[in-house]
Symmetry: C2
Subunit: 501 residues, 2 copies
Amino acid sequence: MSYQLYKEAMQSIADINYAAAVLQWDQETYMPAKGAERRGQQLATLAEIAHARFTDERIGNMLEDLLTNDKLTIEEKRNVTLSQQDYIRNKKIPSLFVKQQSEAITICFHAWIKSRKENDFSTFQKPLSHLIGLKQQEAEYLGYEGHPYDALMNDYDKGLTVAKADKLFGELQPQLQSIVDKATALEVDDSFLYNHYDKDKQWQLGLQVLAQMGYDFEAGRQDISEHPFTTNFSSQDVRVTTHTDENNFSAMLWSCIHEGGHALYEQGLPAQQYGLPLGEYNGLSIHESQSRIWENCIGRGLPYWKQNFAVVQQHFPQQLQGISLEHFYKAINKVKPSLIRINADELTYHQHVIIRYEIEKQLIEGSLSAADVPAVWNEMYKKRLGVIVPDDRSGCLQDVHWSHGSFGYFPTYSIGSLYAAQFYAAIKKVEPKLEEQIALGDFTRIHSWLAENVFRHGKFYSAEDLCKEATGEALNAAHFIQYAKAKFENLSKMSVVGLPS
Amino acid sequence: MSYQLYKEAMQSIADINYAAAVLQWDQETYMPAKGAERRGQQLATLAEIAHARFTDERIGNMLEDLLTNDKLTIEEKRNVTLSQQDYIRNKKIPSLFVKQQSEAITICFHAWIKSRKENDFSTFQKPLSHLIGLKQQEAEYLGYEGHPYDALMNDYDKGLTVAKADKLFGELQPQLQSIVDKATALEVDDSFLYNHYDKDKQWQLGLQVLAQMGYDFEAGRQDISEHPFTTNFSSQDVRVTTHTDENNFSAMLWSCIHEGGHALYEQGLPAQQYGLPLGEYNGLSIHESQSRIWENCIGRGLPYWKQNFAVVQQHFPQQLQGISLEHFYKAINKVKPSLIRINADELTYHQHVIIRYEIEKQLIEGSLSAADVPAVWNEMYKKRLGVIVPDDRSGCLQDVHWSHGSFGYFPTYSIGSLYAAQFYAAIKKVEPKLEEQIALGDFTRIHSWLAENVFRHGKFYSAEDLCKEATGEALNAAHFIQYAKAKFENLSKMSVVGLPS
């Protein structure tokens, strides 16, 4: 079996999966309401075909044959090895189970919608409980060494385990708490962010921000969707979506920068490895590191706004009248414990994630039942964030993830931020003038470092090894803590010049 | 084999084909430039899968078994029979030949682009000649009784033959010529149509026109593309595209009405027959009848503008200042022999089609070679339309069809117009007040007649039988001739009130 045949087989499976991604993109952006029913069926058919093709015995045999072939290059061998791991993982789960789980997810998702709409957890409880049972079963099929939840986290970040996550969050949490306490004490009036900001002007600004980051509009485009996301149909067609809120300036701005970070990663993946593991993103933690390095380390930094505050002022002179750069910078970095994860600041965000992580762990190991989730959730929010959850809609019903069966996804958000801070520190180390460059709107060095150390590798390294290769050390929470500490200390020393708005 | 299994197999093939249609729609509307290469490959993969699934021996056996099952309803039997015809047709053509032809088309299409750009037929000649050879071969594979071109026309209008088309065009042509001669003699100043018409206002007008026709925007949407088209991903998701030209008011208006007619047909097909022949359009001639009945019989009629001229005037008061309804009506019906088919008026349009039809017939029977096309084309345009073709770009290189291998497609444009006129006459017969209703903007009766007599049948009847069932007689050119004669006689009597523009 030649490598060429393997490549063709993988690429034709990728063609099907990317076709499905086009259908999903359309579903979220332009599809008329009545198109939904058949679209669901069309997506199911494509998923079934891709799955059947990939789990065909002939693929298994081809992969095995290829691995005995010593003429493969290192990259080729890595591709085949990763495909084989994926193949074996897929074969561990019976087709009938895949179908059962997919049906359970459909039921659970609709129950979640209803439950959320009616602010009534009880509708969601039974389907959720059933789905958790299936996820426990899935973990058994897949196998694990330490904790059953390891098997599930692996789908999103290969190699991530409860032991590792516990260690990272254990390092992070106590120190983070003291930074949060100080940051929360800072007083800043951010009400000007909730003035009226014209939709079309926000849109224009968003495009400008993306272009400045280096997003290639000939290999992508931005559209509107209810929830912002990034998707791609090859590294030459990487699309971002955003949403605008005329009464909240932050909504679109951060989603453009965040999705832009994801998109730069996808655009930077090696095009010639289309459909092969080395042409695909490393994992969700590394993917999130790319959005977070832009959103937080760069986008919420003072250097970034030295250049861009004037641009924003040009777009919105009235709304920002009398607001100084320092005031703006303080406002966009306001820290305040709150109820909703997706609106959280970059510090308390971790707490939202850790709460979900701990609940998921317990659900999967069976020490917590679905019925007890609301009570445990509310208690954790009170204890860790000091906020009272008024109802389940603003509590444990706020995220879609569980209804999609995505257990093990949340931790990658926090871990992505830790990677981001570690990468950012590494770039600053080799490029001491980095922040002066950012202050001039010059991102070439960031871009080239990320391309060299992250983008071009695809899945060649594990996330852990990628981090070691790129930064010289294993992932740890120290860089994030150092970054956050320095940032909020500086912020506390900064006096806001200008009129109070 | 149960009918249910057949239905599921056909619907999953339809899922793949409709997924491909979404990718094509995206390609024409939103896809960034660099996405093109992989998109082509993704489409090829989907086409290959759909073809392999449909031509699988198991499908053939299933169809044969089902046809010996006398428990099928008439509709079910018709579905299975049509699927079997399609299956047999597909099996007649070797897979290798399909691949060869597909490659030849890719080469021919790119040659056409280049040839057209450089206004040099010689680049196109060789690949065209090769493709014609393959089409001749295809006709032999498919088989035919009369003329080899019959086998190709069948792909677009099942049952259409050279004998039938010759007869129809033979009836049409001499009478049409005398109407054209009189209509051309009418003087009308239509220069106001080429004033500046704001793009956004045209867009709003277009949406209003579609909504008034009964187009369901919850089951479709309009977007911009270079060439207007209609596509669908189910009868619940039928999309139209248009283009705007700020210096030509006609461009977008007629494309909205034309594509709207196609779209109403697709939205009216029976949803429960998704993926089955009875859920699909009859053929291209009947499809074209739906766009033409709206574009010409209704949209270029005086009753339509009795209501809508005021609407257009509201959108464009300055551009239409001093233009009377009669003047507008005359201008949009100006007849003038010209070079380009897609810009032709509804009378001389037929001549463009018949010229192509005759050239195609000769190419396929082998009595004309590709090399001689430009000379024959130019001679026919001079003789039949009285226009001098200045170069091949405005001549035989103007249409994409041949480069796509679509020989036998053109005749359906003219035949569609003949069906349209015959349907329109039939509606007027049962609804003598039809044009009074149209003049009030009320299209319910047209809609219900088309739904009852055309939409709901899908492919149940052949085009010929559908016409007989709907109008009580076989398709003939008399209704079109009568319609055109009456219209242009009335136009010649009409004096234009108002200032000359």
